[in-house]
């Protein structure tokens, strides 16, 4: 962990990226958990929950197209626009809580927008750290992302239960 602090101090550009890489998977995991609980509660159908997870699982099939987008645009701009679009869509979802059909469409679009963003983060890292630090920076990015994904579901469960 101390080595991680040293790495961030040597490469200030990495700090913002790591914060984003913690917050974004945390939000994704919380949103998915909340949506599963919401769909289960409102429809009472396991099939509907399955459809929700399916809508999230399809967009990786668009990876070839997502890769072209990730290469064509500046990764910083792409990440800013992508994360902003996801925030707006999630905010609308929370405010409107649409019926199952439109909800599935929004969930699909959210996952679709996310597809080029991981590649954009992967493109950013070599630009902000020295080659010797590349392994450590990628490990740190992976760990903070996993941390968000692990903490998200219980946090969402706690908030949902209140």
């Amino acid at each position: 962990m101390v080595a991680g602090f040293g790495l961030v101090r040597r490469s200030p550009g990495l700090a913002g990226l790591l914060v984003a890489q913690t917050v974004s998977p945390l939000g994704d995991a919380m949103a998915t958990t909340a949506l599963i609980l919401h769909v289960q509660r409102t429809t009472g159908s396991a099939a509907a929950v399955g459809l929700l997870l399916f809508a999230q699982a399809i967009p990786p099939l668009a990876a070839p197209l997502a890769g072209v987008i990730a290469d064509r645009f500046s990764p910083g701009r792409l990440l800013a626009v992508g994360w902003l679009a996801q925030a707006v869509l999630t905010g609308l979802l929370a405010l409107l809580l649409p019926p199952l059909g439109p909800l599935l469409v929004v969930v699909f679009v959210l996952a679709l927008v996310d597809t080029p963003l991981s590649a954009a983060v992967g493109r950013c890292i070599p630009a902000v750290v020295a080659d010797d630090d590349l392994v450590a920076a990628n490990a740190l990015r992976s760990a903070v992302g996993e941390l968000g994904a692990v903490l998200g579901p219980p946090l969402a469960g706690l908030l949902f239960a209140r």
């Binding site: 550009g13 997502a66 890769g67 990730a70 064509r72 490990a139 996993e146 692990v150």
Partner: protein, 171 residues
């Protein structure tokens, strides 16, 4: 449940891999330096598969927990070195496409794995499912080792241009 455990134990078992992942983070750099990037990738895949095999063989819950911690330890090792390998060997103008296809492939494999895993579980037992996953993981590690070795034998096309010089910059 094969290990005669309740839902809380299932949660603890799922958390074991996450605990191993966090514990494995400080080990990534020293192991990577010793094995090299390609060696670390193959070792990471092989240890993850072994973790699954040991989970299948675990006679008690605590043994299964330890096996899943072992699996978790290897996740950052493999994950970070795969990304590093791609960043170092891919021309910058194609890196987005390569990373998106790798991450997309992992996502598709996970979705197919959930479907197949459920069917295998229904048709056999949790232990058999873990053994099948382990065999697939070890086969994946072996195929990766062969392909990486073949890639290293190919004629050098010269150093790839990095996106930046390592200094804090814009992206």
């Amino acid at each position: 449940m094969t290990l005669v455990a309740g839902p809380v134990a299932v949660g603890v078992l799922l958390a074991a891999a996450a605990a191993g992942l966090l514990a494995g983070l400080p080990l990534v750099r020293p192991i990577g330096r010793r094995l090299g990037v390609t060696g670390a990738i193959v070792a990471g895949f092989a240890v993850m598969a072994t973790g699954n095999l040991l989970t299948a063989a675990a006679p008690w819950l605590m043994a299964a927990f330890a096996a899943q911690v072992l699996r978790g330890l290897a996740i950052p090792l493999a994950d970070s070195h795969v990304t590093t390998y791609l960043q170092r060997t891919t021309p910058p103008e194609m890196l987005g496409r390569v990373l998106a296809n790798v991450y997309g492939g992992v996502g598709v494999a996970a979705a197919v794995g959930y479907l197949l895993g459920g069917s295998v579980l229904d048709a056999t037992s949790p232990r058999t499912a873990f053994v099948i996953v382990c065999c697939g993981g070890l086969a994946g590690a072996a195929i990766t080792a062969v392909l990486l070795r073949r890639g290293r034998r190919q004629p050098d096309t010269g150093p790839q241009q990095r996106h930046g010089d390592g200094n804090p910059g814009r992206f």
